[in-house]
Amino acid sequence: MSTEQPSPIDSTTTSIGERFASLRQRFEVFEGDRLGQIGLAILALFIFIGIFARPYTIELFDFTISTPGLAPYDPGERAVGDRLESPSVAHPLGTTDMGRDVLSQLIAGTRVTLIVGSLAAFMAVFIGTNVGLISAYFGGWVDDVLMRITDIVYGVPFLPFAIVLVAVLGSSIVNIIVAIVLILWRSTARVIRAQVLSHKQRPYVESAQAIGAGHVRIMYRHILPNVLPLTFLYAAFAVAWAVIAEASLSFLGFGDPNMLSWGEMIYNVYTANAIREAWWWVFPPGICIMLFVMSVFFIGRTLEKEVNPELNHQ
């Protein structure tokens, strides 16, 4: 596309108005969709908690902006209360075996979930969609090579692969994301390929060819928007899967030692041999993982309507 022509002020304002309208329209799909709204609300809450979990100090020229953290205590500080103290006013979710505040840990752990969930899912779906699209669109040897690679990745079991990778490269959040992405793109690639195979035979693609569109234009401007509902759905799956994968890895003790996550919290309960007694320590991270995954699913389900006008207007 060529760049926008410089336009007079009145048309600029209308274009801003239009943009605002289209933004509003974007959220219109959530109207009347209770599950989507719930998902959005839960996700917004988690994002808010994730951003403001710990106090910030931003120094901007002469100003120093500092925000208070949501976590009442430093999640890593020992003995802010007694060992394995059950919920009280001072510690709404009790304490750990080291006397750390569980609520503070839970709030701080939101960050890891958000980072891993969004980054890993975005990268995995990005790779998967491109592989699927290119593979199906060009076919022939391109398809063969890409799909055999996908087959090989399908043969790799996630946990052993991730454990070896993290053991070799060291357990950091970046390595965990890499391990998740390297496995996670495969299912998106397969599904997108199948969908594109059917779409590239449809008359609108031939129309686009007749109009004079080239390969890139047909692939990304015509076919991609048509398979986008699936991409969104798989992005939602991927976020959920990535969060669960990170929790599993952390539970097995391969989490990033510098960043506390919900999975690592459960690992700590387990190693402290406290699962039977300290329900206030086990349930909150488990429920948070569940809520987060659920909210992403609800949103994915609603977004499907946005990108597919036929669903939208039924």
Partner: protein, 361 residues
């Protein structure tokens, strides 16, 4: 002035058991502003012939031989990029058979018209392109405000009109209409054809109308090319094809369409099925179904013979026109048993039996 000159075009499809000769040795030239109808049954190669013109063919198809000269440019020698930039849509556009599927479902019709215009004219602004789209909608009898609707919100007739708007957006010199009215009922069909005709005259575009409907071509076309088995078997002005055809296939086709002025008319169908186009060998392709086929028809492929006024016929017996026309009007002539003693190369039964044998291997 000749706009398009197709000479000896051969477009073949690669299949497992050889080349499918979907278009074999077709020659046709089209003047500016002229409408030519391509008539033939399903699988006769009429769409392949038309799509060869903008090289919009599947991967396994190949233009094996022949030339397509469009306005002085040899299309078969253009690179893909040149073809995309210079020819497709700006010079030759297409109205597909099913307009509903011809639009990309995720964009509004207006967006797609704007895209087409801006893709070929870099200096046209979005607003200008949109305005042109609205004008076209108006010309074609659609409410211009519906330009922001998605394709699925249109009815079949409207979608077809919108597709015509899209096809004419860049005032092309040639429009390929691939059965533009097949999916519509006769009333809408008539209106659409009228609209196409009007717009075409306004823009002075030439058109190739692909159809299997004799009534459609007789109404809209200046000239008609009858396609059978990948070959243009008869080519003449519309009047001649309807009233005075010389090829037995055209005679048969004419029998199969009702004449509104003749209430006693009995429709007569042509027995058999379209020929196998994989290595058809020598001889007339219509011979297996032709009631007038002789020894020569089975052995020598007929070449186009001229009968004055641009009337071309590929038939060995086209000279015996009075006899053929008289016989062709009788039902007995087209009885299947009359073909019984001939070698049944192309009949449906034979092909089915052959296919079964292949499966048994």
């Amino acid at each position: 002035m000749t706009l398009l000159d197709i000479d000896g075009l051969k477009t073949y499809y690669g299949a497992d058991d050889g080349w499918v000769r979907a278009t074999d040795d077709a020659s046709l030239s089209i003047e500016r502003g002229e409408t030519v109808g391509l008539v033939g049954e399903s699988g006769s190669g009429k769409t392949t012939l038309a799509k060869s013109i903008i090289r919009l063919l599947p991967d396994n198809a190949e233009i094996v031989d022949g030339s397509i000269e469009f306005d002085g440019t040899e299309i078969t020698e253009l690179s893909d990029k040149e073809l995309r930039r210079q020819i497709r849509w700006s010079e030759i556009s297409m109205i597909p058979q099913n307009a509903m599927n011809g639009f990309d479902p995720v964009y509004t019709v207006g967006d797609q018209i704007v895209e087409v215009i801006r893709h070929h004219e870099d200096d046209t602004s979005k607003a200008e392109a949109r305005e042109r789209g609205r004008e076209l909608f108006d010309d074609l009898g659609i409410d211009p405000d519906r330009i922001d609707d998605y394709p699925h919100q249109f009815s079949g007739g409207m979608a077809q009109r919108a597709m015509i708007a899209l096809a004419l957006a860049l005032s092309p010199s040639l429009v390929l209409a691939d059965e533009p009215t097949t999916a519509l009922d006769v009333v809408i069909q008539d209106r659409i054809l009228e609209t196409i005709k009007e717009m075409q005259e306004e823009l002075n575009s030439a058109m190739i109308m692909i159809t299997h409907d004799m009534s459609v071509v007789s109404e809209t076309c200046d000239r008609i090319a009858v396609v059978y088995g990948g070959r243009i078997v008869e080519l003449a002005d519309a009047e001649t094809i309807i009233t005075n055809p010389r090829h037995p296939y055209t005679l048969g086709l004419r029998n199969a369409f009702p004449d509104i002025s003749d209430d006693d008319q009995e429709l007569i169908s042509i027995p058999g099925s379209p020929p196998e186009l994989v290595d058809p060998g020598e001889g007339c392709r219509f011979a297996p179904r032709c009631p007038f086929a002789e020894e020569e028809c089975w052995e020598v492929t007929p070449q186009p013979e001229s009968y004055g006024d641009g009337h071309q016929v590929e038939c060995h017996r086209a000279d015996e026109i009075e006899h053929l026309q008289a016989e062709a009007g009788k039902k007995e002539t087209w009885r299947e048993q009359d073909l019984g003693d001939r070698e049944p190369v192309g009949t449906a039964d034979e092909q089915a039996a052959e296919a079964e044998v292949r499966l048994d291997d």
